[in-house]
Homo-oligomer: 421 residues x 2
Amino acid sequence: MALIVQKYGGSSLESAERIRAVAERIVATKKAGNDVVVVCSAMGDTTDELLDLAAQVNPVPPAREMDMLLTAGERISNSLVAMAIESLGAEAYSFTGSQAGVLTTERHGNARIVDVTPGRIQEALDDGKICLVAGFQGVNKDTRDVTTLGRGGSDTTAVALAAALKADVCEIYSDVDGVYTADPRIVPDAQKLDKLSFEEMLELAASGSKILVLRSVEYARAFNVPMRVRSSYSNDTGTLIAGSMEDIPVEEAVLSGVATDKSEAKITIMGVKDTPGEAAKVFRALADAEINIDMVLQNISSLDDNTTDITFTCPRSDGARALEILKKMEIEGEWKNVRYDDQIGKVSLVGAGMKSHPGVTAEFSEALRDEDINIEMFTTSEIRITAVVREHDLDNATRALHDKFQLGGGEAAVVYAGTGR
Amino acid sequence: MALIVQKYGGSSLESAERIRAVAERIVATKKAGNDVVVVCSAMGDTTDELLDLAAQVNPVPPAREMDMLLTAGERISNSLVAMAIESLGAEAYSFTGSQAGVLTTERHGNARIVDVTPGRIQEALDDGKICLVAGFQGVNKDTRDVTTLGRGGSDTTAVALAAALKADVCEIYSDVDGVYTADPRIVPDAQKLDKLSFEEMLELAASGSKILVLRSVEYARAFNVPMRVRSSYSNDTGTLIAGSMEDIPVEEAVLSGVATDKSEAKITIMGVKDTPGEAAKVFRALADAEINIDMVLQNISSLDDNTTDITFTCPRSDGARALEILKKMEIEGEWKNVRYDDQIGKVSLVGAGMKSHPGVTAEFSEALRDEDINIEMFTTSEIRITAVVREHDLDNATRALHDKFQLGGGEAAVVYAGTGR
């Protein structure tokens, strides 16, 4: 008998009808002989509606109260799913994050899970019950206040519970039936992947893939919880995310997919003095403002005046704040200028075992050159190659790379070490 | 500095605008130098909407899950009110019933409060915060499950907190500005009462007055918590409910008001054998089915066949069930018939110190006779006289009694002992 944790997102739960369909799937899983724990997000637009109500009574609502308010959404969906399960003849209990033992930091609106002590869940499972656990929430041990977990909170709740209960798998359900070699809306012949290592999924998520949140994959990797990405609208077994990159023999390299990201902006600081510490001041100021910097590019200093340019990318939603901070530093730093550009797109090729394959980097650049697409920034790592291009070139770039590396149809591209391919 | 507990019902909280208005009132109370604890019901129609959703996923939803679901409503309203208070510059925290230490029996959907340990509330009050507490809910100590308190649950929460915190008063806010000598919609010259003893309020509530739920008044009387009935739409100080009937000097009697009740039905069992135990069987069967019997009338037995008729009233909502039970017993009991009549109305005159005033009973009957209204059932107690009449006669009966005892305009009627008035 296996222990399966399933997570259903808001759109899988957006009506009474969808809730009943989800309940049927859960009961079928139980009837197949498994213990089942289910994490549900709030129904459909509930969270947005609650945020809207809050804004009407206070434009800057206190974070503690926002958490009290928003957690009502998951309470509603999980108890309704439990009721639907009971109407099908199985037994189910719903629990809040607090009741399930999800302990977090104090940080309202963006709490981190510090421990999960799911005693009550285990008891209920031993008692033959299906357990529903409200996602996106926990409780802080010291203040005993309810907290919410921020973006991807429900996925993270599911993985954390799976880890604490030593589940066999954590299935994440949405309206997509797996992880694809590229966004099928951009690349028509994108393929569904059967399996992916944790590291590849991490890179895909970090590179723009919206299927899973980085945070939940990081947690799964840390605790070695196999994940499965599945659709709540079909019986397709989806994509399994498990195991490590090291499991792939070193002579082979397998390219998994191409990820695209339109959510970033590029900022260039021109004429930074090329002396130790100048760049650090910039990054410290941005870090203190909690602006996440992604790619960084620093050119060689100009021989004329010993200055250099620093370019970095960050989320567009942080762009205005970052610009404000840098504009304040511009005069003291005696910079030439600070430029902001949010018309960029990021395209990444992700694969396992690309370490020793300079050929891949060459083919990447050639694919884009053949499409007349200019590469503005370029970074590589063991399992990812990323380029920043003009936003309007992004879809073409994605298709070009997907074709170049033969990720469509048939088998995924295989590159051999030493052949320079 | 006083400690004031306030309770706001769903219609006082039905929109963001009403929530802001309520928040202003709360902050004004705090600014006047008081400590303030507020209990809020769910906003407007929230509870009904949740019940509707539940019915869509399970026509017979499990009680534990229903409690998890419904308590989301109070969570939402209390956190929104806390946010609104903070937007006005005061500090507020919202708490669930569980966090506020409201401990209850296990009975989902109709739990009783067994204890209130409001340590966290007291801490927050000492810290200068206004405390919002979700009404209608608590937690069971053994199962650690959330429970709801049934009808009047929010009023009861407020009174229970007031008792545990030794508050100076518990103010119940609705859209009515106090307790009247009669329903102003039936009796145009009904007067607002300044003060009422606990017992009189109990009798009024038991007799049909919808202002306060019997349960909350019983709790207030048991713990001697003064209550105030006020409107959330005006600054009127409303009606104070405090003190005991015994506080009124015995030479005087004060009649407080006339209550009306259209919610009951009358059942007559004809031809019950007039032997010990026969009536008891009937009442035991009804009690086991949890049917609340109100008035009972048993005639003298017929000399011909030693049988008697038993008539009782019960809520119309229980009528069909009661009839079903009695019909099953009819054959074995060899009764002549069981008759059901839901076209009745109940009118009650409530007052303190009516003990020694048979004159009042006489005047009561005369008032109805003068209107050509037949009294079908009649009961009296120390502070209440109740008559059952035809439902269509109820409004006239109410006005007739209100006039007879001069409850309109000027001062409330005063009746003196020994004068036979």
